[in-house]
């Protein structure tokens, strides 16, 4: 059991990161912290994919290095996903700035109350 966990430690870490990210997304009332939770959740997925590409003793997928190599395909996906992720984070933060201008608060529950009152 312990050995099986140690062999899959990166997957365990990825699952725990998904849990932490989901907790922040659901449980935290501050909108900025919700966005940070979204980022943690997203990097949990990245960790899962990159860890699945890893081969012990292999070199990075630079073909000047000696074979064998780790798989380059997950790296390509994650690379673009990180940059797309920062763009989407910026849009989410723009929405937060806008929400603050409209409602004067960053707490999700208070935003709902103000919205109901109108």
């Amino acid at each position: 059991m312990i050995a099986a966990l140690a062999d899959r430690a990166y997957f365990v870490a990825a699952f725990l990161l998904l849990g932490v990210g989901a907790y922040m997304l659901i449980g935290d009332r501050n909108l900025v912290k919700k966005v940070i939770g979204m980022n943690v959740f997203q990097s949990g997925i990245f960790l899962f994919l990159v860890a699945s590409a890893f081969v012990t003793g292999a070199s990075a997928p630079l073909l000047t290095e000696p074979a064998p190599y780790v798989s380059p395909l997950p790296h390509v996906l994650i690379l673009t996903a990180i940059v797309v992720g920062v763009s989407l984070t910026a849009v989410a933060l723009g929405l937060i700035v806008r929400i603050y201008e409209e409602y004067g608060t960053l707490r999700a529950d208070l935003v709902e109350e103000v919205g109901d009152g109108e």
């Binding site: 690379l79 723009g94 700035v97 201008e101």
Partner: protein, 168 residues
């Protein structure tokens, strides 16, 4: 937009209501460090961008590093002066040029009778390799321009309906 001599009393990034915009930090250490480090970071970003074919790197990585140089300068010397230094039209031109460069290389392959982005039909020595390098440069331009644009847009904030801009 151009009125960077702020109006808000709680303006923390640019001190002084009537004076011309000046760097907001008193600490000369940050400014001196940025002045020394910025050219090296820019060179690193350009190296990573152009050398993506033979070592770790490429357009996405290099573009972000080049973009952070501008963010460094903006943080050290104030966002208002940096915004005037990098004009909006330059940034827009850069990002649009990047997208057009990428799409243009794809369309060039179409002109020579290949599929979209099929580099090898272009009659140039090692067309595939140089096609990939050019595409990476296009990506780098898009990404660096976008990172800088996102930063400045977020720093400018929401335009109030009554016309007063939350300029910081």
């Amino acid at each position: 937009m151009s009125d960077s001599t702020g109006t808000a009393a709680d303006d923390r990034l640019e001190v002084g209501a009537e004076r011309p915009p000046r760097p907001y930090v008193e600490s000369p250490i940050i400014m001196a460090t940025v002045r020394i480090v910025a050219p090296f970071v820019f060179s690193l970003g350009a190296f990573v961008m152009f050398h993506g074919a033979d070592s770790a790197g490429g357009g996405f990585q290099g573009g972000v590093i080049v973009g952070t140089v501008v963010l460094l300068i903006a943080i050290a010397f104030g966002i208002g002066p940096t915004r005037e230094w990098i004009s909006s039209s330059l940034l827009t031109l850069l990002v649009v040029f990047g997208v057009l460069l990428f799409a243009g290389i794809g369309l060039t392959a179409l002109v020579f009778g290949g599929a979209f982005l099929q580099y090898e039909v272009i009659p140039v020595y090692e067309a595939t390799k140089y096609g990939i390098e050019l595409v990476e440069v296009g990506i780098g331009i898009i990404v660096s321009g976008t990172v800088v644009g996102l930063f400045f847009a977020l720093a400018a904030g929401y335009r109030d309906p009554d016309g007063t801009e939350g300029e910081r």
